[in-house]
């Protein structure tokens, strides 16, 4: 579904990502893990089209989307649940979700909304609350829901579990497993390596902008030293 080749991101003189390549197969969950500052967010932001001057080649289902601006990429099926959630704070939950589906015909909004509320029933109760008044867990649900409103083929999630209570972490992971079963391809960035490896098919370990390990999640799970060796020392 997604193929990234030789991605390089620079911010001025800092090279945050130095030529990484990765793949997300159709209907797969791929985990991208690594310590703070490893370049995970830069990678995910480049795939969404937010990093100006990112180099490399990004293809979605065989189609080259490297040159497209973010608002064209979302039409092609790339949706992001970014780090820090970045909800539209002054807007209600309903309005946030509605904005998620901005690039799709209005007629489909009701059906998409129903699907999101089905995924996160708790949001139905908060539908008219302003996003800034929600709890962290609810905000993360809106963030994922907002992305789902755009009918993505590839969902990018940055720091899925960061700052969430364990109960909400489980809720969010159940939701993405369900989305996977429905055929969605998902790239999830996590510092919570254990949790991510439980649900992922494949994993990539990033350190200082380079890929230092890749393989199936099962391999990583069976031999935790693989990943601990790389990020255990630098993780806090």
């Amino acid at each position: 579904m997604l193929h990234v080749e030789n991605l390089v991101c620079r911010y001025g003189k800092i090279e945050a990502v130095s030529g990484i390549s990765l793949d997300v197969g159709e209907g797969q969950i791929v985990a991208l893990v690594g310590a703070n500052g490893a370049g995970k967010s830069s990678t995910i932001q480049s795939i969404a089209g937010h990093v100006l001057g990112a180099e490399g080649r990004i293809t979605l289902a065989g189609e080259d989307i490297t040159a497209l601006p973010p608002r064209e990429r979302v039409r092609k099926g790339v949706a992001i649940a970014p780090e820090g959630r970045r909800l539209f704070r002054d807007l209600t939950v309903h309005e946030n979700l509605s904005m998620g589906g901005f690039c799709r015909p209005r007629e489909r909004e009701a059906a998409n909304l129903k699907r999101v509320l089905d995924l996160f029933p708790r949001l139905a109760e908060r539908i008219h609350s302003r996003a800034e008044n929600l709890s962290g867990g609810e905000q993360q649900m809106v963030t994922i829901g907002r992305a789902m409103m755009s009918e993505p083929r590839l969902l990018l999630i940055d720091e899925l579990s960061l700052g969430l209570m364990p109960k909400n972490v489980d809720l969010c992971y159940e939701a993405i497993l369900r989305l996977k079963r429905e055929g969605l391809s998902i790239l999830v960035v996590e510092q919570n390596t254990t949790k991510a490896l439980q649900v992922a098919d494949h994993a990539y370990v990033l350190s200082s902008g380079r890929l230092i390990w890749k393989g199936t999640a099962a391999e990583a799970r069976d031999d935790p030293s693989v990943i601990q060796a790389y990020i255990g020392s630098s993780a806090h």
Binding site: A48, G49, H50, P69, P70, R71, V74, R75, A79, I80, P82, R86, F88, R89, D90, L91, E95, N96, S98, M99, G100, G101, F102, C103, R106, R146, S150
Partner: protein, 288 residues
């Protein structure tokens, strides 16, 4: 008692005019974090277009339509040609450009229309009514009604239309808005058009109320509107509406009861200072 009603009416009128002007500034500030001083020049342009067209055709309605469209498009042109190319610079660069633009517009009005101001050949909306024992002209009544209708429409637009919600989303987080398919440039064009159109209406109505349109008529509103958006908590349309009405009323009553001490503008800015000392985030702003 009669005096109080008259002052309240006067305050309400001024407040409406201030609100119509300030809303454009608020919208532009929310979107770009830029103080759009040249907005006051658009207000004057609106007054001139309406006066010239009315004097030529005899129809104020037609004139208002021409004014709204001309000024709306001029607003977009200012954004596209003067602000957009320098948006990546520090905000004061845009501010200086905007002030320069405002001065230039005043000079252009002086050259084109003459320094002494123009009047309506047949002043429109002069019919008189009596409401609650107070005399009111059709022009004054129109100002109040137009303001109510325009603000209600704007509010509904922002809350119930997809593009209106998208413009609020863009104010909140432009990058995420564009990430979900919103065309940021279109939103900016639209914002400048709507804000400028409101200023055109304000300029037209001030021209009609005073039966005078002069090159410098934008200068007092320019700094008064700034005071209003600061009072209203920057970037909030409702806040601006509330503080515009508040300031209008304060000025009307203040001029009568304190007129010997301070003039109208001094009263307005004294209140601004006092309010900001008590509530730094503005009248309606959240305490942080």
């Amino acid at each position: 008692m009669k005096l109080i009603w008259e002052l309240a009416l006067q305050g309400l009128l001024n407040g409406c005019i201030y609100a119509l002007i300030a809303v454009g500034l608020v919208m532009v500030y929310g979107l770009l974090r830029v103080l759009h001083i040249a907005h006051a020049g658009l207000f004057t342009l609106g007054a001139y277009v309406s006066l010239v067209v009315t004097n030529a055709t005899g129809s104020l309605a037609l004139a208002l339509a021409c004014s709204v469209i001309t000024v709306g498009l001029s607003g977009i042109a200012i954004y596209r040609f003067c602000y957009e190319p320098i948006l990546s610079r520090p905000p004061y660069v845009v501010l200086i450009v905007s002030i320069g633009l405002f001065i230039m517009m005043e000079e252009i009005f002086r050259i084109v229309f003459g320094p002494y101001g123009l009047s309506y050949l047949k002043p429109p909306l002069q019919e008189r009514f009596t409401i609650l024992g107070t005399g009111i002209t059709a022009a004054e009544l129109s100002v109040v009604l137009i303001t109510i209708v325009l603000f209600a429409t704007l509010d509904a637009f922002n809350r119930f239309t997809r593009i209106g919600i998208a413009s609020r989303a863009t104010v909140s987080d432009p990058q995420m808005a564009s990430s979900f398919g919103v065309d940021i440039r279109l939103i900016r064009d639209m914002t400048f058009f709507i804000g400028s159109a409101f200023a055109a209406v304000a300029g037209t109505m001030v021209g009609v109320l005073n039966n005078l349109v002069e090159p410098t008529m934008g200068s007092v509103p320019s700094y008064k509107a700034l005071a209003i958006i600061v009072l209203g908590g920057m970037g909030s349309i409702r806040g601006a509406l509330a503080s515009a009405l508040f300031l209008g009323l304060i000025e009307a009553f203040g001029t009568t009861y304190l007129g010997t001490l301070l003039d109208r503008d001094a009263i307005a800015f004294t209140v601004l200072l006092v309010v900001l000392m008590l509530r730094p985030a503005g009248l309606t702003g959240k305490k942080t």
